[in-house]
Assembly symmetry: C2
């Protein structure tokens, strides 16, 4: 997750993420980060400008990592339908494999603590852009209903975020089957009606 950073920076970023999720930004003091990461406060300030800087760097790193991971999935699909399924599957995988990163982005994407320029990274380094494009194509090819593609992507992302949230809170289990079913129902939600009829039979 933090490959491009050195040992000290990585320890600091990992520890910070850990504490923020466990205890809340408010309770994440530099003294605690120093203690748990094994890096002295003085040394932390040698690699980071401030506490704000650490948290924003953390945000940027996670968004970039997530972006690469999902885009890789999108690339692997050949048809639009395949890209759709592989892409969203990767989003769910991220939530399951890296729950702290997922929770962190969810909790702080709205926070004033994260600089606006850093939030923009979602579109430049994340997966939103490529996903928007995929939806535009799907509309052009009459697979999806004519709707604002950005709105559709948000809808589907929200769907997955919330089943992940509920899953992480232990409200229900998530099997690969149920995830698949959810993703299929996302497709169904926005597919052009003609599609369904072609699948089920001919009009009277």
């Amino acid at each position: 997750m933090f490959e491009k950073y050195n040992k000290v920076q990585r320890a600091v970023l990992e520890t910070t993420l850990n504490i923020i999720i466990r205890k809340e930004l408010q309770a994440t003091s530099m003294a605690l980060i120093a203690k748990e990461s094994g890096v002295s406060t003085g040394n932390i300030y040698h690699y980071f400008q401030s506490k704000e800087d650490i948290v924003n760097e953390l945000y940027k790193a996670i968004v970039t990592f997530n972006g690469e991971y999902v885009r890789e999935g999108l690339l692997q699909g050949r048809t639009i339908r395949e890209k759709f399924e592989l892409g969203w599957n990767r989003v769910v995988e991220l939530g399951e494999k890296y729950p702290q990163g997922f929770q962190f982005i969810e909790q702080y994407s709205f926070s004033p603590y994260i600089y606006d320029e850093v939030k923009q990274a979602v579109y430049t380094d994340g997966w939103c852009g490529p996903m928007d494009k995929l939806y535009e194509e799907a509309i052009q090819q009459k697979l999806f209903i004519p709707m604002n593609p950005k709105l559709m992507v948000q809808m589907h992302y929200g769907t997955l975020v919330y089943i992940l949230k509920a899953h992480l809170q232990g409200i229900f289990e998530l099997t690969s089957d149920s995830v698949h079913e959810v993703i299929r129902s996302c497709w169904k939600a926005v597919q052009l009606a003609d599609d369904t009829v072609q699948l089920n039979g001919t009009i009277g």
Copy 2:
């Protein structure tokens, strides 16, 4: 929103909500709450046990308010389909009319700062319980596919939360038409296939 509280409590809760959304919990000091609410710190502690207490009371009040508002919508519908549309419409209305309350719940529903007992309020005083029941009925009546109703409710709530979030961040506009279209597509996502066929014609 804070009808059951007295003047001072209301001023404190409203101010706190305001500052938290504007500046972040971390930057919400008692001194600032006192200054902006016009209530001295000493007097705040006459009505609240601690800062934590204020924030948790705020959370509880908003969840209860939202719960009442959505349940009222659910009651007004006669058919399942009507309840579905009116209920979710109210959720969107809440996000539009009371964006601060909406954002606050979104941002802190995962936070360790909110006591677990207070989080439970979503099910006891909120609208999740009644909505779950509606979905169970819809499954029994073969309107919806056989899927975990809790999972379905989370899916649809996530859908609406994310179009609201994007809307509040100014990514796109939300008309009552587009909201209606989104809610209809939520229904479509989980409706039993037979339904569609009956609408479109007979199977060849």
